[in-house]
């Protein structure tokens, strides 16, 4: 099992957001998580990444059988957990290339791979950028600073491509992308997914799931999974909204 979330309760500032969430992901699988605004999707993503503001009240998270909650955010990243942010953060004064190289080298240091100097890394970055059709002019710009909403999302997937994670949680990567960009980024994700990794897509829209076809769809409402199914569940939700599943969950 790649990821096991068992009976997870999570609070922020004293307010409990996740209330007994369960989720299992195997290598090679794509999972979609859908659900109303405020239901806790980003909370789950951030808890997986190790955001310090969230308090795990109960339950456990196992990553490849090991306790993920024991690890610091950077350790999780080096172990292969990646979260594409719903709202990617701007980091003024730090160039994309510089940042990505440091991140890449930290990971290589950890896994015993070969660290790259700026020139070598530039070659690698150019290759990876092709996957999301990103213009190299973005390499020397400050991380996300002044990027349009869609450019930020694309940049997140570039980071995923460089870091080659075992588990990628993409939190609404599709929102903000124009029609062409959605196709390009989705195709990029399809190229990056393999039998060796797992992908979690947090999304509101069925459209994304036409490109990246999920093996499972989970509906999160009020902090727990209230319905699960195959890719056809997304179509049903698109048609009927969330009320009927919410009702079923209560």
């Amino acid at each position: 099992m790649l990821l096991e979330v068992k009976d997870l309760y999570v609070a922020i500032d004293g307010k409990t957001i996740l209330k007994g969430l369960n989720l299992q992901i195997k290598k090679g699988e794509v999972h979609a998580i859908m659900g109303p605004n405020g239901s806790g999707k980003s909370t789950l993503a951030k808890v997986l990444a190790g955001h310090p503001s969230y308090e795990v009240k109960k339950g456990e998270i196992l990553f490849e059988g090991n306790d993920l909650l024991e690890l610091e955010p950077d350790e999780r990243a080096r172990e292969g957990v990646f979260m594409a942010f719903q709202y990617p953060v701007e980091v003024p004064g730090v160039s994309n290339a510089q940042f990505l190289r440091l991140a890449y080298n930290e990971k290589m240091k950890h896994s015993g791979g070969e660290e790259l100097d700026p020139l070598e890394f530039d070659d690698l970055l150019r290759e990876k950028a092709k996957i999301v059709e990103m213009d190299p002019q973005f390499f020397k710009r400050s991380v996300n600073e002044g990027f349009s909403g869609g450019e930020k999302k694309r940049n997140e997937i570039l980071q995923m491509a460089v870091l080659d994670p075992k588990l990628a949680v993409l939190d609404e990567t599709d929102s903000g992308l124009d029609i062409d960009a959605l196709r390009i980024v989705s195709e990029g994700v399809n190229k990056l997914k393999s039998e060796e990794n797992g992908v979690v897509l947090v999304t509101h829209y069925q459209r994304l799931l036409n490109y990246i076809v999920p093996d499972f769809v989970h509906v999160l409402a009020d902090g727990k999974i209230v319905k699960e199914g195959g890719k056809e569940l997304a179509l049903e939700l698109e048609e009927k909204g969330y009320d009927w599943v919410k009702a079923a969950g209560n």
């Binding site: 310090p52 610091e72 955010p73 953060v89 730090v94 440091l102 930290e106 400050s142 870091l163």
Partner: protein, 426 residues
């Protein structure tokens, strides 16, 4: 004996010896005597002086340092620039200095050889007057070694001139620079204060810059004294019509450091940047005072100072922009942002605008903050460890200033100093 007189005794002896031994022209000796007189009357500033409120120089004033009488040999400090003039403990080092080919008419000369030069006579001590402070009076009284740069009309110097001050022992040095750029001239000057000695010493520096019509100067000042040393320095630039001054001041060293970065527009249409970065850690105190005088119409001034403080350290920033009555069309902006990396660091920042004309565009602001939690988290989620993530964000904060440095060797040192902040000695 009064406190002032007591403080001055060491200097009285040194001064008498120095002026005695000097082969300088009478006008220069007179200037020095007057300055010394002024110093003995006023002494060093105290915290009762408004401008020195947060920086107590008792320890500086009380120190007993001698003045070096020869230039020690140095190893690496001077770097391998084409044009470099090196002073060791304040004394010109023939061995360490070298000049590439300079355009005709350019003067780069030690003060000892400048006494009869008219431009030198006309300008020395006119831009930074001895009365500016007890320190500048003392520096003027000890004018001996020093560098005079004169770039004639419509002349451009391609290679930057590095003026390197290296400290190697417990001395007091009085570095002094006079730069005069004539009409249409262009040059780049770097002043680097560095050391091959980690103990206490005192640098008391004065730099004067005069830019005539349409002259341009890039002026970078890097202060990386020992963390046990004292550094007191003044820079002042005076700008004529259409001239451009781009100044960047990096203050990294010193147990106690003070820099006054002043500038005056005396004719219309000048443009100036007076930017800087102070980066200090445990046990350091750094004080920047700046005064920009818009005395005439249609001049532009930009000031961007950034501060990074770690450990138990303290910074002072006091920036004044004066827009005088006649100075309509002035455009002045001033910003001082500070990043505190520890809870024990403290900064006192006071940007001040004094405007006596309505037809102006002025903006100023100051902030004091810490590393942004969400930015830090973002970097951590990409696998950067805490130290690296913090250093990278710190670098990002300072990047605007660091990237102004065009000389690769200095830029590289600075990059490393900031990025390896937790491990490297600045």
């Amino acid at each position: 004996m009064t406190v002032k007189a007591k403080l001055a005794t060491g200097y009285i002896k040194e001064f008498a010896r120095s002026i005695e031994a000097s082969a300088q022209q009478d006008w220069l000796k007179d200037l020095r005597r007057k300055a010394f007189e002024y110093f003995t009357e006023t002494g060093f500033p105290t915290s009762r002086d408004e401008d020195w409120k947060y920086t107590d120089v008792k320890e500086v004033a009380g120190g007993q340092w001698s003045v070096a009488n020869h230039a020690n040999a140095i190893s690496e400090s001077a770097g391998n620039a084409v044009n470099k003039i090196v002073f060791v403990d304040g004394i010109y080092s023939e061995d360490a200095s070298s000049l590439g080919e300079l355009p005709e008419g350019v003067v780069v000369s030690k003060f000892a050889e400048s006494g009869d030069n008219e431009v030198f006579q006309e300008n020395l001590s006119k831009i930074v007057e001895p009365e500016f402070s007890g320190f500048s009076a003392l520096n003027t009284a000890f004018i001996d070694q020093g560098l005079f740069i004169h770039v004639p009309k419509n002349t451009k110097i391609d290679e930057p001139i590095h003026v390197v001050m290296v400290s190697t022992g417990e001395f007091t040095a009085f570095p002094r620079l006079l730069y005069v750029g004539e009409e249409g001239s262009e040059a780049e000057v770097l002043e680097v204060f560095t050391r091959e000695f980690e103990g206490p010493y005192l640098t008391n520096a004065v730099s004067e810059v005069k830019l005539e019509k349409n002259a341009k100067l890039i002026h970078t000042r890097v202060q990386r004294e020992s963390h046990a040393a004292f550094h007191i320095g003044v820079t002042k630039a005076v700008l004529s019509r259409d001239s451009v001054y781009d100044g960047t001041n990096l203050n990294l060293g010193g147990k106690l450091a003070r820099h006054d970065a002043n500038l005056e527009f005396t004719e219309e249409n000048g443009e100036a940047w007076v930017d800087g970065l102070y980066l200090i850690e445990d046990g350091q105190h750094t004080d920047t005072h700046s005064r920009i005088d818009h005395k005439v119409k249609n001049c532009l001034s930009h000031q961007n100072y950034k501060g990074i403080l770690d450990g138990k350290s303290r910074a002072v920033f006091n920036g004044k922009v004066y827009v005088h009555e006649n100075a309509s069309g002035t455009d002045a902006e001033q910003s001082n942002k500070n990043l505190l990396l520890s809870n024990d660091a403290r900064v006192d920042t006071k940007p001040q605008l004094e405007i006596f004309n309505d037809d102006v565009k002025c903006a100023h602001g100051a902030t004091v903050g810490q590393l942004e939690g969400e930015e830090l988290f973002y970097l951590l989620t990409r696998g950067l460890n805490q130290d690296l993530a913090r250093n990278l964000l710190t670098y990002g904060f300072a990047e605007e200033i660091i990237n102004k440095i065009t000389v690769p060797s200095i830029k590289k040192d600075l990059d490393e100093a900031v990025l390896n902040r937790l491990h490297a000695k600045l």
